[in-house]
């Protein structure tokens, strides 16, 4: 169990769910917590959330599969979301996406063989003044150029 969620959080969710009238409202929080700890949400994660909150697994699953920032399949250590909406498109977003695919050697929806990066498209990141933009984890990077991307990726590679 600790692989999916640290015991303190297991206890916290259980206690909170018992104390409130509508435990369903914690489903998104709990899924995000599992993902933050485990990287993605496996079937066992869905079951765990259901059990902690006292709701049905299917009620968790219909949430988990709706949101695009909840991953129901394994992802790399870092997930790169690159914006493909209109402002980034107008500012060379296609070239940025192509550069990312080239330097990572993967297409959208794929993970690098070293398990480091997963590349996904996303809609507008709310960084339209700094297009083109991408988000890695919860950090947004704007005014991207190929050189800037290379430096950012190196930073993450050297981190671990």
């Amino acid at each position: 169990m600790s692989e999916l969620l640290p015991q303190v959080q297991v206890n916290a969710f259980r206690a909170k769910a018992a104390a409130i009238e509508h435990p369903h409202e914690l489903i998104v929080d709990a899924l995000r917590a599992v993902q933050a700890h485990h990287g993605w949400v496996p079937d066992a994660g869905v079951d765990l959330v259901a059990e902690l909150l006292g709701v049905l697994p299917v009620e968790v699953e219909e949430i988990a599969t709706f949101y695009d920032k909840i991953f129901r399949r394994p992802v790399g250590k870092r997930v790169i979301h690159v914006c493909d909406s209109i402002c980034c498109w107008a500012d060379g977003g296609d070239a940025i996406a192509a550069h990312l695919q080239k330097v990572l050697g993967i297409g959208f929806g794929e993970t690098t063989s070293d398990g480091m990066f997963t590349l996904l498209p996303t809609c507008c990141l709310g960084a339209c003044g700094e297009a083109p933009a991408m988000m890695i984890g919860l950090t947004t990077f704007g005014t991207l150029t190929p050189e800037k991307i290379d430096a950012i990726l190196d930073g993450y590679r050297n981190e671990a």
């Binding site: 435990p23 369903h24 409202e25 949101y67 695009d68 209109i86 402002c87 107008a90 709310g126 339209c128």
Partner: protein
């Protein structure tokens, strides 16, 4: 360029966030103090008199919305701030919460008092983690000072505020989908009626406003309704507007500008004109769901009434500019793909119609168009418009429909030449 009165961005400094001390030093929470001395109904009347209109896209008059709320109904009621902000071209709530999060908290406290609501949530999109942390800190600071919590400033009125972090998807911005999202249900929209004011979060009366809408509220109580209205350049408008610029401009930043400022002034003065001395071809004046405006319409004042007269909408006031090298079919294709991908799948015109629109635009852009496909395209636009369950697909038809009305020649040209004439 710097002479526009700064109300919402008064405390904005590059790379910094104004928290409680700075906010109070700039007159923060004086609006709440003033409002608490009035009766709730007077507060609602003052917002009405200020002619504040929602900044979330639909532009509904805020005071009117509040006056429909069952204020006197006892028991649970909810106040929600909509910070989903996933409409492409829109980033003003982001800038606001990075700069000065207490305005949202104060505005919500006043709104809660006006409608006698005890509990509120600030709903924030996944990508705005920094904003979520800023708002959490602002809530903690405000609670510590008695601006939130039980018995606010000795008024016997109590209001508590929470933050909800979402996990992606544009449809969560639609207010009934947002309510489902907060409840932890699958966030498809709900049918209206019943409206949230009657049957909202957990089945209780609920009022939803945009983040920027709430941020305007304190200023209506420090400056007064008349002063607030006078901030606008046109009698139809009121107050200021956070305008996020993007696309092919020299300066793509977010500015606070008087409502009613002509589009041309925004593009040329604030945006520094079209980048690289190219010419202006078109813009989305208020986010991805607003019909395109052309160069001939640059003198339109940025207020709800004039933008509608021009055949578009003020929307979220996120302005995306396209220069003459832009293929409008390709631009519309990008927009249509966004809406098709973000469709929640609930109703057929949107779930099946939007992918059809995408396919048709792909064919036409790739030079495989025909009169038959053009007819199908017109047919889709006609049949999706007004037939979807929520306003997402209707919004998609904004730019798509204006491709037909404003750039019909360019569309036909793709078909006649069997290739894109521009790119």
């Amino acid at each position: 360029m710097n002479n526009y009165p700064q109300i919402l961005f008064k405390n904005r400094r590059p790379g910094a966030t104004a928290f409680l001390a700075e906010y109070e030093a700039g007159g923060g929470y004086q609006g709440l103090r003033a409002a608490l001395k009035m009766a709730p109904q007077e507060v609602r009347e003052q917002v009405k008199a200020a002619n504040l209109r929602g900044r979330g896209g639909a532009g509904f008059p805020t005071g009117l919305k509040w006056s429909f709320f069952p204020t006197d109904q006892p028991g649970e009621k909810y106040l929600l701030a909509n910070g989903d902000e996933m409409e492409p071209g829109t980033y003003k709530d982001h800038q606001l919460l990075l700069a000065d999060p207490h305005q949202l908290v104060e505005g919500m406290a006043i709104a809660a008092y006006a409608m006698q609501i005890p509990v509120g949530y600030v709903f924030l999109r996944y990508a705005y983690e920094t904003c979520a942390q800023n708002v959490e800190r602002a809530i903690a600071e405000a609670t510590g000072k008695g601006y939130l919590g039980r018995d606010i400033l000795g008024s016997r009125f109590g209001f508590e505020l929470h933050v909800h972090r979402s996990a992606g998807r544009y449809i969560l911005g639609e207010e009934t989908a947002l309510i489902n999202g907060l409840e932890g249900r699958r966030p498809n929209p709900r049918s209206k009626p019943p409206f949230p004011a009657q049957f909202g979060l957990f089945g209780k009366p609920t009022n939803v406003n945009n983040v920027e809408t709430f941020a305007n509220v304190p200023h209506i109580f420090t400056g007064g309704a008349e002063w607030y209205r006078s901030l606008a350049r046109t009698p139809e408008g009121a107050g200021t507007l956070l305008v996020g610029l993007s696309g092919h401009l020299e300066r793509t930043e977010c500015f606070e500008l008087p409502m009613g400022i002509p589009l041309r002034e925004v593009v040329e003065q604030c945006g520094g004109g079209v980048r690289g001395r190219r010419t202006f071809k078109a813009c989305l004046p208020g986010g991805a769901s607003t019909p395109f405006l052309t160069a001939a319409q640059l003198d339109t004042p940025l207020d709800h009434v004039h933008m509608e007269q021009a055949g578009s909408r003020l929307g979220t006031a996120g302005i995306t500019v396209f220069d003459e090298t832009t293929c409008m079919v390709a631009a519309t294709l990008n927009l249509a793909r966004f809406f098709a991908r973000e469709s929640c799948g609930w109703c057929t015109p949107c779930r099946d119609g939007l992918p059809m629109v995408v396919w048709l635009l792909e064919e036409i852009e790739a030079g495989r168009g025909s009169q038959e496909l053009l007819d199908m395209f017109r047919d889709q636009v006609k049949n999706i418009s007004g037939r979807s369950f929520c306003a997402l697909a209707e919004g998609a038809m904004g730019p798509v429909g204006s491709l037909l009305t404003k750039f019909g020649d360019e569309l036909e040209d793709h078909v006649k030449r069997g290739r894109c004439p521009i790119s």
